[in-house]
Every structure is written in C-alpha cells, then in structure tokens.
Amino acid sequence: MVFNSEQFAIFFAIIFVVYWSLFKYRLAQNLVLVVGSFYFYSFFHYSFPIYLGCLILATYLFGLWIQRTEDEVKRKILQYLSLFVLSFGLIYLKYSGLLIGSISGLSGWQASALHLLVPVGISFYTFSSIGYILDVYRGKIDAERNLVTFAAYLSCFPYLLIGPIPAARTVLPQFRQPSKLTLQGIDQSVGEILWGLFKKIVVADNISLGVNYCFAHQSELQGSSLLLGVVLFYFYLYADFSGYSDMARGLARLLGFDIARNFNSPFTARSITEFWRKWHISLTNWFYEYVFNPIVIGLRNWGRFSIAAAILLTFGLSGIWHGADWKFGVWGLLHSFAMIYEYYTADQREKFFSKMPWFLSGFIGIFFTLGYAILAETFFRADSISEGLEINRKILSMGLFTTPVSFSVKYLKWCAPLLIVEIIQQKGTYVFDMEQWGLSRFAGKLTKSAKNINFVTLIIKSLLYIILCYCIWLFYKRMNMAEYYYFKF
C-alpha cells in the first residue's frame, strides 16, 4: 500500500475520521495511529510489524533504563548496549550479504548467499530509534513513559517507510500535546499532497522509462545519450523521493503533526556542502548530529584534519546506509572528497568568486555542483562500480558530442514544471505558499479590499490545484506505477 493508491486513500480517509473524532483524547488518537500504522506496514509483509514492534519495545525500554540510571559508567554501557541491540537487526538483515560476499570475494571462501527478507524502511526507523536513545542519553529529551505515545511516534505511517527521519526533540512532543486541525493546515496539506503526487505520478513515473532505457542499454549508447540518462535519473530520484516526502509532510499535517522539510530545491546549490543542506535534509541532520559532531569532538586535537576525517567517515557511512553495495560507498566518498576540497579551499574560492558578477559566480557554482552531483549519482543507479565508471568514462569522452537518443526532449520536458515550482518555493515554509509566489501582492494590484485579495489568491491557487489534479488524474491510470526508489533502502 503506497501513498499513490486508491487503497491508501480509503485507508487514510478512515484513519482521518476516526482520529479526529477522538480529538479530545490524545492517548486514544495515538492508539489509532499505532493500530493504523501497523496495519499499513503489514501490507508489505505480515512479519514487518512484528519486527517493528520489537524495535519499538526495545527502544522504549532502553530509553527508560538509561534515564533511570544515574551512574555514568552504567549509562555509557547501556547506551552502547542499546545501540548494539537496535542496530543489530539492520546490520544483520541488510548488510550480512554484503559482508559475507566481500569476505568470500577476498578470501576465496565459498559462502552461500543469505536470502533475508529486509523490512521496508528499516534504515529509516532504526535511525529514528538510535537518534532517540542518543538524545535521551545526552539528556536532550526525557524518555517517553507512555508506550502508546512512543509507539505512535516511531511507527507513524506518513514517515515510517522512507522518512523524513523525525527528530525526537521536535516531533515526539507533538504526540503528547492536543492536536489541532486548522483551515490553513488543511490548505497546506492539500498543496503538499497534490504536489507530491504530481512529482511522483506525472514526473518521476514518466521519466523512469527514459532512465531505465539509458541504463539498460548503456553498453550500446554514446556519451550524449548516457548524459541524458544520468540527468534524467537525477531528476527522477528527486521527484520520486521528494514527492514522497512532500506527501508524508502533508499527510502528517492532516493528522496535526509538523515535520521538517526534507528537500529544498537542491538544483540551486552552489557547492556540494550546500547541496547537502538541501537534499535529504533529515538524513544530513541525523548524520551531522550523531556521527559528524562526535567524530570532530573526538578528534579535536587533530586540528583541521579532524573535519576532513569526519567528512570522509560520515559520507562513507551515509553511502553505505543507502544500500548494501560498495557502489553506494563510492557515491558517498565522491561527495566527501568534494566537501573536503570545498572545506580546504573555502577562502581561495570566496576570494576568486567575489571578483565576479553575482550571476556568473552563481552560474559557475550551480553548474559544477549539479554536474558533480549528477555524475556521482551514476554510481547510485548503475549495477556496479565498474558500470558506473564506464558510464562516466563515456560521458566524459568525445561521445558527449554525438546526437543523443531521439526521445530526449520528450522526457526532459517533464523536468520543467518541477524546476520552476521548486525554485520559486525554495524560501517558502510549505509548497504553494502564496506569499512566496508573490500572488498576494499580485492580487493586491488588482483590488484594494483585503477580502477580495484573499478571494483572488484563492481563485489562482484553486486553478493551480485543478491543473495538478488534472495532470495526476490523466497519468494515474496510464502509467506503469514504479515503486518508490528509496523503498530499497
């Protein structure tokens, strides 16, 4: 059951009605969420909710245990023990195949492959639980005493499968407070859900055919066509993943929760460092807080090298977090190399760019950042490191100057609406924030009355929503629904 299905629409409608009919009873609302989330998760496999339930219980008990323990040594031991227990399932289920394969490859030992069923979203909710434990250990939050409240926070279906990874400090308290549903909240949610659906159904699912073709025929295609393929893949991945995140945010808001934005127009990043402040923000924040900072603090005597070491380790780990394959490690390392370069050359680059007009420095920054991110992303989609290298070799050869496959424009056109809307709303707090779009000011030019301004804004917004609905409806039945790419992680 995915967000863009009729089945989910019915499921959500039922949850929504039951949830808000209990608005006076916070605990009952949480219970509805827990039951709904476990039911939702069981659609993928009956055993997944069992694993999730065990993880929730373990995290809950460890949280309370750490909080009640006063002895610092015992607290530390408990922290390590809990991290081991919580991450064991993730490591065993997701990475044992990679480890055994690598060891057998290096040693020549003949090992039979493990065919383990990896629960969808395990990487995401395991990280949420680890973040919670670390926050409790560091005293940043109090351990949650109510199991139902805690289970509702960790299993909440809008972000259970592929995030955004909810920060316990900001999201967990919302499960304790009375929830509110405002007209403004509904409006924001509708915009986000529609835009998320548009990104998934109209953009991502359309582009995916072109991407699949280019990667399936990579041995026959020239550099220009492969460049088209990797550019399309970048936009496909963005539309697919950010579309889900937007829907998750909209759905959570309909249930009265505010979760942080996961993407913020990464196409406009002028450096890889900035790119990571705009791409998969919740994961970046998680790694920054629980991996990068502790490493920097631990290696503080190493001077500037501590930062470089922390970047290398953090992004190496982030790469492997994405998938049990060394190609993801290469992808992570490529990003870390770029960030280390940017860190060491920050002063020189600033001096160099300050002499240029702003638009030129901006263009150069965006061009190289986007180009680098796109070429690095090749390893994300290629079947192996060698295939990724071969694709990049072809792209960076004379084959780049040949005529690309004839369907280029057909698929590239889908990126246009995506780029336009995402760039406009990059400073907004939510999708279709009309202030951000300048529509209120435009309406103000047409009429002086505040009532009329609101009315004109409403009309324009409704028109936008109608266009979105029409496009979604048109493609909903026609397209091959591709699975969300991040379900693999």
Partner: protein, 348 residues
Amino acid sequence: MRKTVIFSIACFSVVSFLAACGNKDGKATGGNTKSEAAKTEAADRALAENRAKLDKLNQDYPRMPTDGTLLVNGPDNPVYQELEHRYETDLAELKKNVEGTGAKMVAILLSVHKNDKEDLSEKYGTPYVKSVCTKMGLEYFDFGPVLAAHDEKEIKQVPKDAHWTKVGAKLIADNIAPFIKKYASAASTVVYKDTERPETFGDLPPNDDEVLDGGKDLPYHVKANAQGVRMDHNLTFPKKKKRVLLLGDSGFYCPFLDNEFTIASVLQQQFPDYEIYAVAGISWTLTDFISMWNEKVKFTEPDIVILGTNGNDIEDLFFTHCNHFSRNEKPTYPSPVEEKYYQQMYRQ
C-alpha cells in the same frame, strides 16, 4: 520578481497542460476541413459506441481460457472445432483479400517446439494450421524446428518474457530472407488513389518516439513514422521499391527490442532495394489481421505479404480473447457453443 513568478506560473501551467495533453493516447491534433471534421466526429461516435459495447462484454465475460485449456481432452472439444473452422474461414478471407491485390502471401509458423513440456496448442494447433494452408494452397514454412535447435535463453527474453531477443529476431530474419529472394518477381497489381488512402497505415501513434517496458523492466525504444508504422521513414507513392509486409502478432512486432533490432529492420538492412516493414500488434488474431489489411495496410501496396502465425492462434479466436485484445475495438459476441462453454467453465 513578481513578473518572473507570474511568468513562471504561466509557464508551469502551460508546460504541464501541454505535456499532459500531448501524451493523452498519443493523439496528434491538427486542422481539419468541415467535412473531415464531420467524418471524424461520426467515426469517433461509432468508436465510442463500440468501446462501450466492448467494455460491457469484457465486464460480463472477464475470463479467457489460457493456451491449451480447450485442448485438455483433445481437439474434439466442440468449441475448439468451431475455432478451427473460424481460423480456416478467416485465413481464406485474408488470403483472398491479399492475393486479390496481386501480392504473394506466404505463412511463417513461429512457434517453438518444446521438448521438455507438452504444449497442447502446439501439438494440435500446428498440424491443423499446416493442413489448412496446404488445403488452400498457401505456401508455409514451419520455423519451429529451426528455433528449437537454439537455446531458449539465447533467442527469447526468458525468464522475464517469452518474446524474441536480438539473436532470435536475427535468426528469424535470416530464415525469412530466402522467401523474399524466391518471390522477387511478385508484384502488386493494384494502385490506389491518394484520396483512397487512410492517414495512417499502422496502429501506432504517428511519429511516436518513446520508451516502453510493458511492466517487465525490459525498456525498449519505439519509433513510428508519421503513418503510424514502426519504421524510420514514411512510405511514399507511387512506390519506388518493392514492398514486403510482415503481418502478424507480437512475434513480428518484437516488443522489448529497439526498432533497429526488430525482424523487419534486420531484413531491411539485408535488402536495401526493398521496403520492408511490420504491421503487427501484441495478441492480434486473424480477425485483426483482416481488419488491418482492409482498413489500412492494403493501401501500402505490398508485393509480398509474410503472415506470422502459430498453433495457438486458433484458441486466440475465442470471443473473450478477441474482445480483450481487439485492435479496432469491435465487439465479438459469443456463439452458442462458446456461451455454453463459458457458462460451464467460469460460471458454475
């Protein structure tokens, strides 16, 4: 800033709308005269009526017997016998229509003999098809033994799909080539007027250029000319080269292969002095071949027509199969024998 934003909204709206409309059923828009508009309107209305009838039939009769189901107790099943008769009648009609234009028609049997598993459609269907061809004086060639001599994984996209790989398509093309040489003197005697010809000769959207994968993760590039035929140039008139038409189902359409690797393209590379093209569709039956010939493809004035068929084409004439895959969306109603069989098999 405000102007930029408003301009962007307009761009977004227009781009989204056009992108969406441009892809709707792949239909191209263009200017029409009044009479053409009226004709199109009438055709659209008839099509909509047929579609409604077809939808109703598909709702009422949703099930299709899989290959071999009708033959579980041998070929004496009255439904199968009725379908055999229908096959013979349809093939005779097609032959008559094709040969009426002076073109030479030959049949190619494209089924693969499987040694490990008994294929009832193959066992009973192929000999019947051969006997019918012999009876009506239609030259045929059974590619089964040739194909069976190769590893299935080499010539078919198994396990993902059972259609041809590049190797399979090349193998078939190489075996069709002698027929083209043999009938080099065949010539269509009919010349149609420009006003008689339809706008398209194939069922693909004109100028189609897209990637499809049939949900099997086997993406392939389909390009159609302005006449809706899967080839890289338009057919012009009067024709300057001899024309060879491959008429058949998915065996000739070659899903999961790019244009340049289809059987027709491989043959075209081997015979540059000919124009070779396939007009074929997934799950088409003899009924579809006839309608295709009469409505569109005869107007291309082919000199040689190579019909792709095989043993299971007989069962494909069962009314529910015809209704599910009908190319021109014309409803096929069950005969009393089919109705009785359907009631017994799926309603009890």
